[in-house]
Structure formats: C-alpha cells, structure tokens
C-alpha cells in the first residue's frame, strides 16, 4: 500500500470519532444553530468538515439522545434549528474528553520513553 494512501485512510478513520468530539465540544459553550455550527467547524484547520458530513452527524447525535433541538423563526431566512447538549451529552463529552486526554498522554509517554532509550 502506498504510504500516502495509508495515511489518508488512517486520517479518515481517526476523524470519524474526532468530529463527534469536536461537535460536542462546540456545543459545550451553549446552544448553536446548524448553519453557525457548520461555519465554525469549517474553520478548523485540516478537518475539512462539510455540511454533507455535519448534518447526518447531528441527526445521529440527536437520535442517540446526546443533543436536543429546538426551532426558532428567523427574520432573514428559514427557521433555525438550535442544537444543545443534553445531560447525557454532557456526561458523554466529559468521558470522551477524559479518554482523549488519556490517549494523548499515553502516546506522549510512549514517545518520550523511546527517545530516552
């Protein structure tokens, strides 16, 4: 396998779970509507988050009970759907953040141990 292909595949797999964490973290500060969320996530460097990916993800999170939605009329455009974390979502986010920090920490330790050798 070409190393470039291998890296691309690895990045896709990593990003799948990573994107969920990003979305939940983006909502940790308060409710946001879909378009706003999409704009914000689109600015993340290297993630290339598109609406084609984001909205199905948001729908899945809602079906899993991690986020809740509400509609609000907008004067300028279509009605906006606001997303907010549910209690379950907050609890899940807490655990996910802790888990990712642990993983990063373990990866860092492994790398430092190799360098000492």
């Amino acid at each position: 396998m070409d190393t470039t292909d291998y890296q691309l595949n690895w990045t896709v797999q990593l990003r799948r779970g990573w994107l969920e964490l990003c979305v939940l973290n983006a909502l940790a500060g308060g409710e946001r509507y879909g378009y706003d969320l999409a704009r914000t996530l689109a600015t993340l460097p290297g993630e290339n988050v598109t609406e084609g990916t984001l909205y199905p993800l948001l729908s899945r999170l809602r079906l899993q009970g991690l986020v809740a939605t509400r509609l609000e009329e907008s004067s300028g455009g279509p009605a906006r759907k606001y997303y907010a974390l549910t209690a379950a979502g907050r609890h899940a986010l807490e655990k996910m953040n802790k888990h990712i920090e642990d993983m990063v920490e373990q990866t860092r330790r492994l790398r430092e141990h190799k360098e000492r050798k």
Partner: protein, 867 residues
C-alpha cells in the same frame, strides 16, 4: 425567505433520495437531515441576489456537501460524475402483463360495463348504488396502476400515495370479493367450460394482484430505505369498513322492510321507525319496483335468513308508510335490464291499464285542454255542468288516461260522450259489471272506449283509451247534475268537480275555460279563480291546478225556492217529484272521538287543525286519537306527523270509545289514504253489525285517493263531509251548528204518486228528477233484495246515471254495443246546457213536422227527382 424554483426543488429531492440509504445506514434520520440541508441552502442563498433559489444554486451548494451530485438539465457541466439511473424493480414483463390485465384492465372494464348496462344490478345486486361506490371501485385499478408505475419507474416514485392507496383498495377489493363469493365458483366453472365469467371474478383478481404488489412494495421500501407504506392493519380494514359503512343503509333498509312486514304489529312499528331513521329511501324505492334475488350475496343471505323477502306489494306499502307518499308518486329509479336498457322508461308498459286503480303517473300523458260549460237553475236549486277534457299523449305507445274525480256533494254523472272520428258519441248506461266487462273487452282490442264508474261517495273513476301515441289527443265530456250546496252566510254554492288522483299530468299551458249561465257567480274558494259576470252568465279562465283544489262558486243575488217540482216523464205513471229545503239535523254528539291522521301530508294543516279542535263545543265530550304508527290518545298540542299512517286502528279505537255510551260520533280528519288497511273489515264489521252505532264524519285535507272511504261508502253511517272551502274551514260551520248556532238546511226529494204539483211550488227541470233518481238508487243499492237492485239499475238506465250500481261506457261500433247487451243513450234524452223544451213546445214541433210530411207526400210526384 426565498422561494425555490421547480427545477431547484427537483434537483434537491433527487439528491436527497439518493442519499437516503446512506443516511439510514449511518444511523441518521434522513428526513431530518434533508430538512437541515434545505435550511442550510436557505441560509447560504438568503444573502445572495435574486428573488428565488434556482437549480444552479442548489446544485452548487449540494456539490459542497461532499457527495457526488447529478447536474440539473440546465446546469453547467461539472467534473462530478453522474450517478447511473436506477434500475426498475423486479416486476418482469410477464408479471406486468398479468397484473395489468387482471388488476387494472379487468376491474376498470367491469366498472364501465356495470356503469353503462347495470347488468349485475339487474340480476344479482347493485354494486354501484351510489357514486361513492363507483369512486371506490374506480380506485382499485388506479391504485394498482400507480403501484406498478412506482415499482417500474423509480424516477418518479409515489411511495406515500401508493402506500395508502394499495391498502385501502385491497380493503375495497376484499369487500367486493366477499360480496361476489357465492358466484365465484360458478364464474370459475364458466371460464373453464365456456370462457365466460371474468367480470364476477374481477374483485378477486384485483385482490390477488393487490396482495402481490403490496408484498413487492414493502420489500423494496425496506431494502432501499424508502418511506414505508402506511400499515396494512390500518388501511385494509379502513377500505373494507368504508364499503361496509356505505352498505349499511341498504342493509338496514332490508332489515327494516323485513321487520315492517312481519305479522307482529309492534315489530312493524319498530321496523318503520328504523327505516325512517336509518333506512335508504332510494333503496326502498328500488325494492318497490324490482325485488332482487336474495341468494346472490352473503349480506343479503344473512338478512334473508332473519327476514324472508316480502312480496313487492308489501314493500310498496312500507314505502308509503315510511315516506308518506305512494311509491308511484315519485320518479321511478334508474333500473336497467341485462342489456342495459331502462326497465322503467317513458314507454314502460302500464300494468294497471283497464284496471280499477289510477296507479302511477305516466310520463308524456297530459290533460291538454279543459272547459266547463254549464247552466245554473238557481230557483230550482240545481245546476248542470259539462266538463270537456282533451288528453294528449307524447309517448310512443298508446295510453289509457285515468283519473279519480271528486264530484260536487250529492252530484251525479248524467251524461258521457266521446269524440270518435271527430263525431261526438253518447254513452250507454248499464250495470257496473257488464259495463266494465264491455270496456275491458274493447280495451283488449285497442279500440275507442271511455268508462265512468263510481268508486265511493261522490267519487268516480274515469278511464279513456286509447290516447293515441306520438302527440295524439282524445276528447271526452262528462255531464254532471249538481245540487246547489248550502254555504256559509246563507249563500248557496255550486262546487265544481276536481281531480283527486290521476295518471296524467297537467299541461304547462293548461287553463280551464269556464262559462256558466243562469246566475251571477263569485268564487268562494279556489286560488286564482276570477270570473266576469255579465248578462250571458259568468265566464273566466281558471289556472290549470285549480282542478286539484276545492273550487266553489257562490250564487249571487238569488237563492233556491223552498219547494220545487218536476214531472218524471220517463216513468209510466208520470209522477211529480218535489224537492224541498228542510231543516237539517243539528244535534251535537255527546261524545266525539276525533281521529287525526298522523301522516306527513297533514303536517301543513297542523296549526289550522289545532285551531279547529279548540272550537269543538264545550258540552261535547271529545277525545283525540292520533293515527300515528301506534294509536295515541293525546292533546291537540301533542300532535306529530311522519310517513303515511294506517288510520284504521285509530278509527277502531275511536269507534270503541264513542260507542261506550249512546250519542257518540267519530270525526275523522285525514289526508289521502292511498292504501287499504288490513283492519278495514273489522271497521266495516263495527258499522254493519251496529247500524245505530256512532256515525263517522270524514273530512279530507288535500287531494288524493282515499281507499278507506271508498270501502266505508257502502255503510249508511259513513258521511263524507262536503269540502267547499278546503283546509278544514268547512268544519268550523259544523261546529257552529253543534253549538246551536245557525239554521242548517238540506235538500229532500220525494215522489208524489200521480199527484198534481204542490201549490206555490216552482217548476224546476229534469235535473231535479235525476237527483231524486240518484237518491232512490242509493237507497235501493243498500237493499239485499235482488229485485231492488234490478230496480236501481233500471232507474239508473232510464235516467242515464252513474251510480253505485251503474256505470257508463262509450264504445265505437253498434256491434260492440250489441255484444255487450248495451244501448247507447238517445241524444234527445241526454241533458244539455241549452234550455230543455217544454212538453207543449215539443208537441207543437211534432204537429208541424207531421203537416210538413203530409204536404211533401201530396206534392212529391211534381218534383223532378222523385220517381
């Protein structure tokens, strides 16, 4: 918010449909995601110029969604590869043909054939009683076609519509498959052995096709994550229940008819109540014309097992009891025969031709012209009126015109003529049976008779045949001798005959030309009657409908003499007949049972009747019996009306109550009674076995035949009250008399054997003798002696009268008269509206003629043409 163009909408929907499966696989809700994308595009385009979102913009934004998108037709080409068109789902050509043939074509063909011909309705049961049924059945092939289309052409799928329709129409097909289930084995055998019978199988074939397509539809939607069709457990019972609901009035009508024709009176009443509340009047009318085969569908079988199908006459009676109008008084239902022709068309056969009932109105047969000519002999208290009627028949078959006519009180038909080949022919008068037999024989040979016979007190039946087809006319004339009737305010009135019931209509342009001589007349009743009085008499045009209502004309400025006489020249001893005005009995009954007809036709008279009942003298003990479905004893303010009620049970109860003590009477206020009652004999028995029992005074509101009065007319205690003013106003006069106010008078006619006329009496006319003869005949008719009856017939023939024992008929040829042993009246002996010549004048004419003849014989040899 911007609107989306159709192309933009289509572009978006196509994209969404292609992403649906992926989204479902990813655990998302596709519809929610589509809504979010839509909102997202809305946000993106909100700030852009332009008033609407077009397909190019949608395409551009969708391409950013990280999924390959097919460009819209007008969109600029991009590098995005187009997704290949989806493949049709697995309905192969054979399946397509089979389902198209048996699921779409056959049900559609069945619907069209049944709609056009009524083939099934004429022999099995009516599958299309309402347009809703037709829509329901029409939905079956449409739904199957749409399901096929959705499965075969996924570019434009109608998932939701077909999902609902397939279930609903399977319910409909199941219902009809159930209804045709008894015929199914026969249809299968028919197909196997003769290649016939596909039409009764079409519901079953549609159901099988529907089940197959539904399975395919469910499979495809599950596999491809399409919208799931509406659940079958909901839609199928819904379709079935809709049809059951539509069939419910029909089923309840059959149950109601079954109950209403049982022997148990209480069950009959409950049946009538059920029919009035839930029954189908249309179905009842259809059943009144055509009894359907009860073994052809399970619903009928079920009802038939509880209530055997009654005879059609019973159903017709139920129709009247439920609706208040005879079945033949309304337009016949559209019923077709097996070839699609109308069963009851304008040219239908008249089953009552030459019978003794008026029966149904015949389309195309009208009274085209009418005139009244007459002479009033005010001093003599009589009048003679000739009513000329011209019938027209627009139908394509010859018709018999029939009418029941109410004569003025105490009047008698004394002349009848018919125009044959432009010549007026006189009638023969004879015994009822022989005259009717002669008429029926001639009708059977389709010649030119007219028959007039009495059917009750002051009621006659006129029958004319044939009124030629294709616009032909027939002209006849009735001569009626009328006694003047005492009217309110000391006046005397001439009542005109009126039509109670007829099988012809009145022409739109019909007017009755009236010309009466001998007295100034003014209308006493009759809407729209206006007369001009002059030295010649009273003239005017009456509106066409005037002969369907009471019409009486008051004699102005003159009144009858107290005593009038005339010699009976046709009797061997030439006795003098004397007519006198004598006081009428005025004693009020001590007990008065008032029977009010509870039929719907009386509703409009309710207020007038309550006001009338309040006028019954207080010294008369009155009891009100309402002849509803059950006999009710009630107060005047509790009267209620529905349907057509049998009045006889109430009359029986009233008779029993009134006869409890001496001096009782029954007053019967009623509308038309087109049906006889099963209790009529019991009623007759009461009056016949107790001749001194309570008298019955009957007063009819409105027009229409009265079969009960026709039966009761043979009893001496029955008195049909004269209807001069109508709507119950005449009864006020009766109550006034019972209260002791007014001086009632009546005519009395007697024969003075060989005597000279009384001193001071005024000489009248031969009409006086005719009226006396009619009185005598009525008395003799009640006798049980054979010789009395023969005398009555002889008297009727001598004076050419239509009475209870005699009728009048005009035949075409002398041979027909000979065959019937009848002799037509000598025109010189029939009454006329010109003054009758005195005996002296007749003798003078005879002498002059004799002299002329002798002179001619003496000088005849001088004339060149005498040999």
């Amino acid at each position: 918010m911007k609107n989306w163009t159709t192309a933009a909408q289509r572009c978006f929907e196509d994209y969404c449909e292609r992403r649906r499966a992926d989204l479902l696989k990813a655990g998302a809700d596709p519809d929610e995601v589509f809504a979010n994308w839509r909102a997202h595009i809305g946000e993106e385009t909100a700030a852009r110029p332009g008033e609407s979102v077009n397909a190019e913009e949608v395409f551009e934004l969708l391409t950013k969604l990280d999924v390959p998108v097919e460009p819209p037709a007008a969109a600029p080409a991009t590098g995005t590869p187009a997704k290949p068109a989806p493949k049709p789902y697995r309905i192969n050509i054979a399946g397509l043909i089979l389902i198209g043939l048996f699921g779409v074509f056959l049900p559609a063909l069945t619907l069209i054939v049944e709609g056009l011909t009524g083939m099934c309705a004429s022999i099995i049961f009516d599958p299309l009683p309402t347009w809703l049924h037709a829509v329901g059945i029409g939905l079956v092939p449409v739904a199957l076609f749409l399901t096929l289309r959705t499965l075969r052409s996924p570019e434009r799928p109608l998932w939701k519509t077909t999902g609902w329709l397939s279930g609903l129409t399977m319910g409909i097909a199941l219902f009809y498959a159930f209804m045709f289930s008894i015929l199914t084995p026969f249809a299968c055998m028919g197909i196997l052995f003769m290649g016939l019978g596909f039409l009764p199988l079409s519901p079953l074939s549609a159901l099988i096709c529907g089940v197959f397509l539904r399975i395919r539809l469910a499979g495809v939607t599950r596999k491809e994550a399409r919208p799931r069709p509406a659940p079958l457990w909901l839609t199928l019972p819904l379709g079935f229940a809709l049809l059951v609901l539509l069939a419910l009035p029909e089923v309840l009508t059959q149950v109601g008819v079954g109950m209403a024709t049982t022997g148990d009176r209480e069950a009959r009443v409950r049946g009538l109540e059920l029919l009035r509340r839930f029954g189908s009047e249309e179905e009842l009318l259809r059943e009144s014309y055509l009894r359907r085969n009860r073994e052809m569908n399970p619903l009928d079988l079920l009802v038939g097992s509880c209530y055997p199908a009654p005879p059609i006459e019973k159903v017709r009676e139920v129709y009247y009891r439920v609706t208040g109008q005879p079945f033949n008084a309304v337009r016949p239902p559209v019923l077709r025969n097996q070839r699609g022709g109308l069963l009851f068309s304008e040219n239908e056969w008249d089953f009552d031709q030459a019978g003794d009932r008026v029966a149904a109105k015949l389309r195309g047969l009208t009274l085209e012209q009418s005139r009244f000519d007459g002479k009033v002999e005010a001093a003599g208290g009589t009048a003679y009126v000739e009513w000329t009627l011209v019938f027209r028949n627009a139908a394509q078959v010859e018709r018999e015109a029939r009418a029941q006519i109410l004569l003025p009180p105490g009047a008698v038909v004394s002349r009848l003529t018919l125009w044959i080949n432009g010549e007026e022919r006189e009638a023969a008068f004879g015994g009822r049976a022989e005259v009717r037999e002669a008429y029926q024989k001639v009708v059977a040979r389709r010649r030119d008779p007219v028959l007039v016979s009495q059917v009750g007190q002051d009621r006659i039946l006129v029958q004319c045949f044939p009124v030629p087809r294709d616009g032909g006319t027939m002209k006849t004339r009735l001569g009626i001798t009328v006694p003047l009737t005492p009217a309110p305010d000391g006046l005397y009135a001439l009542a005109l005959p009126r039509i109670l019931e007829s099988n012809f209509g009145l022409a739109a342009s019909l007017k009755h030309n009236l010309w009466l001589e001998g007295a100034a007349l003014q209308p006493l009743s009759g809407a729209g009657a206006q007369l001009k009085n002059s030295a010649e008499g009273s003239r005017g045009d009456l509106p066409g409908s005037a002969v369907e209502e009471p019409l009486a004309l008051a004699i102005q400025d003159s009144s009858p003499a107290k005593t009038v006489w005339y010699r009976d020249e046709r009797a061997p001893d030439k006795p003098v007949i004397v007519q006198q005005l004598v006081p009428a009995p005025r004693a009020a009954p001590k007990r008065l049972a008032v029977v009010v007809d509870g039929s719907k036709a009386m509703q409009k008279n309710a207020e007038a009747m309550r006001a009338l009942l309040a006028k019954i003298p207080t010294e008369v003990k009155a009891q009100l019996f309402l002849a509803a479905d059950r006999v009710e004893v009630c107060a005047p303010d509790k009267l209620h009306f529905a349907g057509g009620c049998d009045n006889v049970p109430a009359l029986l109860a009233a008779w029993d109550w009134a006869s409890e003590q001496p001096g009782g009477a029954v007053l019967w206020l009623h509308a038309a009674q087109p049906l006889e009652s099963e209790d009529t004999e019991a009623l007759l028995q009461r009056w016949q076995r107790r001749p001194n029992g309570p008298p019955l005074y009957a007063y009819q509101f409105g027009s229409g035949a009265d079969r009960i009065s026709e039966k009761l007319a043979s009893t001496e205690n029955f008195h049909a009250l004269a209807v001069l003013l109508g709507a119950g106003k005449d009864l006020g006069q009766l109550f006034e008399l019972w209260a002791g106010r007014g001086t009632p008078q009546r005519w009395e006619r007697v024969k003075l054997e060989g005597a000279e006329p009384p001193a001071g009496a005024v000489e009248g006319s031969s009409h006086l003798v005719r009226l006396w003869a009619a009185d005598e005949i009525q008395k003799l008719a009640h006798s049980r002696k054979k010789e009395d009856r023969a005398r009555a017939i002889k008297l009727a023939q001598t004076w050419q009268l239509v009475t209870a024992v005699s009728s009048a008929v005009v035949l075409e040829t002398a041979e027909q008269y000979r065959a019937a042993h009848l002799t037509p009246a000598d025109p010189s002996t029939t009454p006329d509206i010109v003054p009758e010549p005195g005996t002296g004048l007749l003798l003078l004419c005879a002498v002059l003629l004799l002299l002329l003849w002798r002179t001619f014989r003496r000088h005849a040899w001088r004339l060149p043409f005498v040999r």
